[in-house]
């Protein structure tokens, strides 16, 4: 396994107590029986943790609620719908009617996902025209095809050609693979009346009605069924039109929940009213009403499978990229062969603005213009909560370490059972000084417990005052460097609890911070990595993926005082007489230090 650079993940508080650590968790069979009542140390390796952890860059922050907001706990609104290929904006009213894909001429290759271009079947594709939407400069003479310039796939391979170089989407929706046109409902009816079209091999098992063996495509069967049901429900015999069948069942109490459960399987249609209404519908009896007999003879497809072999079949992932195909008759033989793959119209995308779900304030809003990736508003959590940088610290056994301690080789493997040190640098982004309290379990959770000691779990970090401001205030006009130095000096002399800097003589001292700067503090964490020994006789003979990663769960509590703002929702803890508010923010995070040698 490749070495990693240390990282930090943060757990959004929204996934706390209410959902995590709930009773349903204790049922987990894979959880060791012991941790049933464990006092909820966050286990970064538990499968559920993956759903609540985010890198800091993914988190937003609500200034009014003073709370972290993650992608799970924001309310989203759509600013723009657009096609990622032609970058055209799509009005929201089109979505219902025309679906979620670009209806211009934007298609992806079913083989390699590359963009397809409209080319004349006769001429070679012109590279300058590739991917040009609604290709105005398309070749002069038809017929046309969609072709891929990367893998040379062409829609002619599935027998599809177009008469016109534009409006490809509309043309394609009327074509079946092989190029045969889909029948409209009207054509279908006319054709059925014409005896010459009638299949000679009429089914023997059928109900004998004409056309009962006719194959409908999915969209047509749906339409037929829908109009059939509608006509049934509109039957005057069904007094209420049958439409209100569920209206009289009020569900709000647990008792009626049980009724729900039985209705779910159709169990309580004993209900007189419901029975009468449902009774109003008879079953569909012919193709026009949506009845479709199944043709179970798949010998032709089996023969094709035999002759084309593995290469002729489409992989599961290619098939899953295929848009739903309404046009083909065989429901069960959905595309299977490469020769049945159709061009994929681009899925539309959205630009979204995000609101705090509690106070409804906007915390992220992109520019509406499709072409730009800028934001009008974006309150990233990184501007509000301290960031944590991690680097290995090697304390050479001798005396000659530099003031900051020499950095270990980044990404090197951790040796089992050999103590290692890491420097955590907390940087305060806000304009108030903050108090940070850390909590980490002495042993990491999981099958292999590494020992963890946070040497200084409590400290203060100075405000992120603008360096320039401070320089202006200072008549001597010192720059940042001198400023910082002076600050550090002041701190050292003050010698407050937790404010002590321990690296004066390069010794690790419990309760002392390692180094401090204008708005940052470094502390040291000592770890004794576990020995990743697999005992014989255990069920699992291997390490699970990432089980060799040394990850430390750490609870971070940040407290600060800020100017009180009027009445608002949020984590207001208390007020003092000067209208300063005490605020706090607490969350779990995960520090990934590195991999343990095994």
């Amino acid at each position: 396994m490749a070495a990693i650079t240390p990282y930090t993940y943060i757990q959004c508080p929204c996934s706390d107590s209410s959902t995590l650590g709930r009773s349903s968790d204790t049922n987990s069979s894979r959880a060791d029986g012991a941790d049933d009542d464990d006092d909820r140390t966050f286990d970064p390796r538990a499968p559920r943790s993956n759903y609540s952890l985010y890198p800091l860059e993914y988190l937003l922050y609500c200034e009014d609620c003073h709370q972290i907001r993650c992608p799970r706990c924001v309310a989203e609104e759509i600013v723009t719908y657009y096609c990622p290929n032609c970058l055209f904006e799509v009005p929201s009213s089109n979505l219902k009617s025309e679906g979620n894909r670009c209806t211009r001429s934007c298609f992806q290759c079913p083989i390699c996902i590359g963009p397809l271009a409209v080319t004349s079947v006769e001429t070679k594709p012109d590279p300058s025209l590739l991917a040009a939407p609604d290709n105005t400069a398309a070749p002069q003479s038809g017929p046309y095809a969609l072709t891929c310039s990367y893998c040379n796939w062409s829609s002619t391979e599935v027998g599809i050609k177009f008469d016109k170089p534009n409006g490809i989407h509309a043309q394609l929706s009327k074509l079946r693979n092989g190029g045969t046109a889909r029948l409209t409902a009207k054509e279908r009816k006319e054709r059925r009346r014409d005896p010459s079209y009638r299949s000679s091999a009429a089914t023997e098992q059928g109900d004998g009605r004409s056309g009962s063996d006719e194959k409908l495509d999915l969209e047509t069967q749906f339409a037929n069924l829908k109009s059939f049901y509608q006509s049934q429900l509109a039957d005057p015999n069904a007094s209420d039109g049958g439409l209100a069948a569920l209206s009289d069942l009020g569900f709000s109490s647990p008792t009626s929940l049980s009724r729900i459960m039985s209705i779910y399987t159709g169990g309580s249609l004993h209900d007189k009213k419901a029975k009468l209404r449902v009774g109003a519908i008879r079953e569909a009896l012919e193709v026009d009403e949506g009845l479709q007999l199944a043709d179970l003879d798949e010998s032709a497809a089996i023969a094709q499978l035999h002759s084309e072999g593995h290469d002729g079949t489409a992989s599961t992932s290619r098939l899953s990229d295929q848009p739903p195909n309404f046009g083909e008759a065989h429901l069960h033989g959905r595309s299977r062969f490469v020769s049945e793959l159709r061009p994929i119209p681009y899925l539309l995308r959205t630009k979204r603005s995000k609101r705090c779900p509690v106070c409804r304030h906007i915390i992220s809003k992109p520019e509406a213009k499709v072409q730009t990736t800028r934001f009008r508003i974006r309150l990233v959590a990184g501007s509000y909560i301290p960031s944590i940088a991690i680097r290995p610290l090697s304390l050479s056994s001798g005396s000659g370490t530099s003031a900051s301690g020499s950095a270990g080789i980044p990404g090197a493997l951790l040796e089992p059972l050999k103590p290692a040190h890491y420097l955590l640098t907390f940087t305060n982004p806000i304009f108030e000084s903050i108090k940070v309290t850390l909590g980490a379990p002495a042993k990491t959770p999981g099958r292999f417990a590494s020992k963890v000691t946070v040497l200084c779990p409590e400290f203060e970090i100075d405000a992120n005052t603008d360096v320039w401001d401070e320089a202006l205030k200072d008549p001597s006009g010192a720059g940042e460097l001198r400023d910082r130095e002076r600050e550090r000096e002041r701190r050292r002399h003050k010698g407050e609890e937790g404010g002590n800097v321990s690296n004066n003589n390069n010794q690790l001292e419990v309760g002392k911070i390692w180094e401090r700067g204008r708005n940052w503090v470094s502390i040291v964490v000592e770890v004794v990595p576990a020995w990743l020994r697999l005992e014989h006789g255990t069920e699992e003979q291997r390490l699970r993926e990432d089980e060799d990663l040394l990850e430390i769960p750490m609870f971070v509590r940040v407290e600060w005082e800020a100017e009180a703002v009027g009445d608002e929702v949020g984590a207001v803890v208390g007020r003092d007489k000067e209208a300063r508010e005490k605020r706090e923010l607490a969350y779990w995070c995960v520090l990934g230090l590195g991999r343990i040698r095994h």
Binding site: I78, F222, Y229, G279, R282
Partner: protein, 567 residues
Amino acid sequence: MSAPTGSAPLPHRTVANIRSPPGAGHHQSGPSTPIRHIPSNFGSPSSLRADEEILIIEIGTRKLQVGFSGDPAPRGCVWFCPDQQRRVGDFRDWQTDYRYDWRSAAAGGLWGRDHELWQYDVRGVNLGLVGDKIERALGEAFTKYLLIDSRPRRMVWVLPSALPIPVLSAALDSVFSRFQSPTISLLSSPLALAVGAGVRSALVIDLGWSETVVTSVYEYREVDSKRSIRGGRMLVEHTHKLLAKNLPETQGGPDGKDKYVVSFEECSDITTRMVWCKPRPRSASGQPSSDALATVQEQDEGELEDRPVSRRTGSVTVPIRSWLSPTSLELPFDALAEPCEDAFFESQYSPTSFDDHELPLHLLVYRSLLQLPVDVRALCMSRIIFTGGCSNVLGLRGRIFDEVSHLIQERGWDPVRGKGVDQLRCNPKLRKRDARQAGDGPTGVMSPPGEGEEQDGVWHDAANMIPEIDFIDEQLQRATDRRPRVQGTLRPIESLGAWSGASLVTHLKALAIATIDREGWLQHGAAGASKPSDADYKTQRQSLGPGGLMRGSAAGSAWTLGVWGAT
């Protein structure tokens, strides 16, 4: 068409106001103005709800499908897979040198399990994780395929009817709390399939992933359901067996005991692409496979004429990448039908050697039909609907159908064609016999009370809860429906599928659907359930069939989610 202007902070959705006046909120085909959201209203709770656009969500063990009510097909499908279970910002799947460490996952018992949303045996299920998986998959589906914002929307879930309550409960918890849906309606997939086929009664053969379930639907009611663990998972396992057998023997794993030599992903892919099912052997003595295949080839001889000769050799080449080193296997085409044979039919054993829950599929279907009351059977057997992932295995549906019709020919249950039905109806003797069969037929339907349900947390015998007389409800015969119904012959029909059926049901408001109100759920749902010690343990390991929760509530007002309700 605007949302009701309630003053409550979150609108309390009773079922009564789900029903909007005809036309409201439901786009009929033809030109219609889309309902526009009025921005000025945004921020007031009543307008936070989205327009009357109902989401239909079909949830299965391996994938979920989403779309809008009234659409013929879902707009998107999301498969459950390991990369979906990673942390946000973990992009290792995009790194070219990264490969999923399936061997260690397999060693941890996860071969394939990490591609499942849930397991029916709830003892092994991390319920919270089920909720997380659903939430993430839905979120992805909504963003990628439906392009919807996060305003609360009503949902209809299409579910297998045997879904255990704890699993359903976890899913509801997650979605009610994360997506704020005012209501979630539940529809069982066999019912939706029947509607999607245009029939009121049907025999639904769901060739699913975890198991195969045969459900008899009579007059829009599930009256019986039988299951066998022979499903997609077993098929993939047998494909793996086939591949492993043909690969050179290797020392896998630290001590050479690795159970799996090829990754699940690859086996699953090969199964989907290459595994097929032989037709039923023509005669008991004849060589089944080559015989049948020869026929097939003969038919196609004309078309195949101009193909390269090499393609007509009897074998196919299957590339395998996840083995110790990438290789390719040359397999006889016939061999690729073996997994199907072993997984679904296993012809070398006699029927008596099978446990009920592992019946070969044709026996499962036959016994399902056998124990139905004759009227119900006559209707169901003429409306056979195949569904589920394995119905895509080429030849499988036809094979099951032929095997069943052969069984019927061979063993019969009495003439059911034409006049036979009437005869049977009038002949009290025959009828009695039939009832007996229904009662204590070969599968032992009437197992001692409680046993069926408790076996593995899955509720098994829907029909047993319903008194038999109830089946034949003449009142249900619609007076105006004088047209003859096809019955008594075996006949397969196509359904649009459960999703599309549900889309019809919801769009037309044609059936009563079970609807759960968010407020009610949050008050009385998982959190409101009483502690297990307070209630009768007998009621606990059940799923949602008739009598499932009902019994719990009959015992008093307390109902419980069983051991899963403990806090």
